[in-house]
Amino acid sequence: MRARSLFFAALSAVAFAGTAAAQDEFQKPGAVIQGPVEPQNPGALPPPSPDAEYREIPVPDRVRIMDALGVPDDPLNPYHQSTLKGDRPVFDDWYVVLGAVLDTLYEPRTVPVPENVVSTNRQLSNDQFGRPRQTFFAQTLIPTFTIIKGDTTFMPPEYEFTVTPAVKFTHLGVEELGIADVNPAKGRNRNSGFVGFQEAFLDYHIRNVSDRYDFDSVRVGIQPMNVDFRGFLFQDQQLGIRFFGDRANNRFQYNLAYFRRIEKDTNSGFNDLSKDLRRDDIFIANLFVQDLPVTGFTSEFSVIHNRNHETGFHYDTNGFQVRPAVLGFDAPHAYDVTYFGLNGDGHFGRLNLTESFYYAVGKDSVNELSGKKADISAFFVALEPSIDFDWIRLRGSFLYSSGDDNPRDNTETGFDAINENPQFAGADSSYWIREGIPLIGGGGVALSGPNSLIPALRGSKDEGQSNFINPGLLLIGVGADLDILPELRLSLNANHLSFDSTKVLEQLRQQGPIRNDIGWDMSVTANWRPFDTQNMIFRASGAVLVPGDGFKDLLASEASDKLYYSVVLNLILAY
């Protein structure tokens, strides 16, 4: 959002000013203090003498300098000074920032789907697996309205009100019945529109705690939150209260937050305020420390507690049961789980590294396969080393999410996130991450939800509960980002995926043995920014999943199951 970038621009401006002005005071511990820096700019004009005479010309204020220079306010051009973009106050030091994003998505794909169990639309279609082709189209408009009070250039704003409604129209076309809607008589297409609120918050700058504008703030309302660098555990726009701030010239940043989740509209994924809030609470405490263990690497320590007491039945917009998941005992259950996280992002010399580690511990009132209460003990680790060679970045990806190899015992060892949105290993260009794959014949759950890595066997990623009896995942991959042109980036990814343990799948499907190999997920993405800006981005990606033995043991398609593909054509226009 424009509002956030303004905010961070202000912070970095402050930080820069501080470094330049008082270098020794803020010298990093252990660093050798160098002598005065010699200008390295031969041929440049010398700076004016301190004794030179100045002629003072009064101007109204800094934001109207451009007026004086004859550059008019242009509300339609975000790169001109614009009152609508918070460049000039509308009153006193109150600013307005407007933004809008228009996102158009067209996605042809193939996904294993079940032949509907009670009705058919084709003669001689006599098996469990139906035809896999689907077409998905989404048109999204996200306007943002922000009001800010404060001298935004030099310090964090004192107040910020932001409201971001979002409008989405989606169309899904499939080849089988009972996919678009639980009622097979409703056919193979679904059109759906929804208006949700993705942001609606008040941000109050409580205080500054240092001359460098280290601060404490509080933000209340529907707000974005991401608890780690890559969206592995919880990234969402949810209702909550968050205290945050920094210390020591922004070298320490903290968050203390509480969220109570809003129900999502099924087909848009947007917040649906017409429904009661979920009985699902998230408590977050984290601390980011810069330059730990080495300069250029930021480490995050976090403790996140998820308390879910959703013991009723919930059905999604299309009539499918999502809570509890149709899985095993299908029994409403509550769980309390605490995640201890150690995440990091930065570089060791030339080697870039992002890492994530979580350990989940807690209690589940019903293990859906044993029918008894159980402990939760699971872990997750992800590593992404990369190295840059001029315009080429080479990446490696490793991820392990623990599975449950004895799902009927009293410890659930399958790791599941709260609401993942992983930016990893190809992210939403990857077939496995992008597509929701149903566990046909194993209950009303997804083997892997949309925009997720973990084969969590949830009833729904957005609306379902976490599930700690799952097969887990091992991902090993390589990738490359190629900045072919300043405007054009090409990303290539190849990941090999396998389950950690298929025991839970064998029990759910009353099938055995099921092998571990999910297969190869390969994708290519082109990002084209014709104007070198974020105002127009065209993205095209294609991904294939070449099923491995384990995937073939589980799923197939009526027409062909040689491979599954996902093509994404996406145009994003932003104001």
Partner: protein, 922 residues
Amino acid sequence: MHIKSSSGNLFSTDMTGGKKCCLATALVLALLIGAGSAGSALAQTTTVVASILPNSRSVQVGQSATAFATIINAGSATGTACSIAPATSIPATFSYQTTDPATNISTGTANTPIDIAPGVAQSFVISLATSAAFAPTAVAFSFSCSNAAAAGTIAGVNDLLLSASAAAVPDIVAIAATSTSDGTVHIPNNNGTGAFAVATANVGAGDAITISADTGAVGLPVSLTLCQTVPATGQCLAAPSATVTTTVAAGATPTFSIFAQGSGAIPFAPGTNRVFVRFRDGANAVRGLTSVALVTDDPTPVAPGPVLTPSSTLAGAVLTPADVGQVISQVVKEATARGKPATIAVVDRVGAVLAVYAMNGAPATLPVEDNPRGANATPLVDGLNSVALPTAAEAITKAITAAYLSTSNGNAFSTRTASQIVQDHFNPGTMGAASGPLFGVQFSQLPCSDLSVRYDTIADTSSATRGPHRSPLGLAGDPGGFPLYKNGELVGGIGVKAEGPYRVDENIYDNDHSTDEILALAGTIGYDTPAAIRADTIVAGGITLRFSDADTSDFVTSPATAGGFAAIPAGAGSLIDVSGYYNKSDGLRAGSVYGSTASGLVQDFSGAINSSVPPMLLVDGTSRVRYPASAGAGTGAITQAETSALLREAYASATKTRAQIRNPAGSVLAVTISVVDVNGTVLGIATMPDAPIFGIDVSLQKARTALFTSSAYGDSALTAAGLGRFSTAAASFFGKPVFSGSVAWSARSIGNIARDSYPDGIDTTPNGPLSLSRALSTPFSNGLQLDLVLGNLGQHVTSVVTGNPAADTPAYCTALPAPPGSPTGRPVLSNGLQIFPGGFPIYRNGVLVGGIGISGDGVDQDDMTGFLGLYNAGQGLGTGIGEAPAAIRSSTLYGNGAAPHYVNCPFAPYVDSNAQNLCGGK
């Protein structure tokens, strides 16, 4: 349509001691439905049948001869202006008048035609005032309505042998009673012996009377003998012989038994194949006559099956009398401590009842739960809901359910498991999900099933042990039925009924603390279910099955220390008789070893069907195969070779198919395969070792269901049985008649349209045409499936309640007419309709010739085994045998925006390959 010869009151006996008024009412209604009522009067014409009792009178000239007549309106429209007139010219004046069948007192006005509602049996008294002497003459009558053709005359059924003499002569009024109370004597296995009784009253003068029996104008392969009997005991006074001569004084009431020893197949043809008992006076004039229909139980003229030798190493676990007593004692101890007197039934694996024990104070009846949706609109559409049933029958049903649904090596199911899989959603109480996979299985193992063995040691001593036995109420979803195991082997089941309604568990997410279940669990201590195969470790469609809410922590006693049967305190209760199931005089009985001749299932090592997994075959008491692979009847019928191929191919597919309900995951399934010909006659049955017993009857139901609904006579048969409303509803739903031969129906598709919502599971949509509406439909009242057999169930429950085996339902279900030209004369659905997947019609070059049915594992597995068995057999045979033509399959029909599925084969179907999608395009 069998013809009732009685016009008297069926319900004059006190039956229950408890809620007898309600029970009687409900049963009357049930019987009426069974006889075919409650249809909307769409058609303008109707059909009537008639009977006369007694069938002979001999009077003096000037006297009137009277008899009772009954006209049954078997059609779906009200019969208007129905009347009776003599069709034979005799010197007598005829009159008729309606009577109250409860009292036999005249009602209405003499000689006045009357309207008869559909399904109603109207009784009359007829009178012939003689004016001149004439020799014994068979007087025929015209029983007709203005909108119905006259009922056909059947000698010995609705004619009257009448004479008028100058002097007083003997006038023997004779009434025959058969054990099945359907006016038919059944000869077991073609060569067994059937019997019936004749009671007489001489209302004329005394004389020496010679009694003889014959088959009238037709020669039948039967040898008839008779004896005079002691009226109180039915014992013969002398060895049976061809004739008996005895002096019958005026007013005397001698009784007789007639024995029919079969020597060949006798089809069911009640109009012609009958036994007549004639009473001749000293002048050799017939002064009394009665008759019954005669049929052999295996009426298809097939070669006798081979005799199988049970494996010499057969050493299965078995319930001993001591075990049975121990189980009962454990329940009694816990029940006594709780103050919940219970009725306890123990059965063996093949359903033989080993003991029924009623504690003092145990309720004699407990009602079926009310419709939980509260609809209860009229009793007519409420089926069994709210009907009081004998607790002994409930307990037996629960014990049989657990024994029949469980296996030794794969799965152990309880009645609670059954409850979970027969309701409108799977899981019950959720929305959107389709119905339970075994929706409808509660109406299998029916007491009228022609397949199931009846406990009738007079007709067949082997029937005491030999299974598969019938169940009094089908299968139960009422918690409180568990399987019994010894050394890890299934040996039987226990059922307990102590309190509360006979119900299903509508909320599986709570613990309902069922007393019945806690008590039954107490009985299983020491006979525990192996944990590795318990239902709650088995997942179907991703959903774990339930086994028990009760656990050992619920006990207030230590059942294991109860001691044996002898340790039960005096006065706690006693063994009780349950007509048709158990005689307390037998004491505690031993179960039979599964696989022994006594169990009725013997393994066939001949390799004729399969040599790697030798099948179990149903045998009679001499170990002779009951249903050897046979040829069907009629032109173009399935040949013996084709039956063998169908059994072999389906069996071969089954032996590598992954089980849905057996542990460990990846096991091979165990199912039963049945093949029938175009008349529904069994051509062969093969069941895999350790297959659950319930699948034997159900596989036959499925084969017949697919056949019946795909046949040209489906619609007309339903209409004739008074169930035309379902035929009409289906035609309206799909825009054309769909049970008239133009549509090939699989059992899956029939199930689709026999659900309380269509598409199945979508609560907001209307019900399928074979179902009741969603508000009315329950597992105890689900539309056509129950209505077809409600009359049979009513008869059966009456016989259990009254302890009168003679009142029992006949050994075939439904009031449907037999297919035209059927040599058996039996309804196709002789063991009831089934409405879950696994049955397919068999075609030869597009012509319907039979059906195949599979049952015993997951419904998709059943489906595939039948579908591929038929397909593969057809491919191999090359005789035109195969699947229904695609163009006429039920999946071509659209109703309410959706087409039903014809077949749905499972994912990852075979254990020996990772092939998928084996059925598509076939």
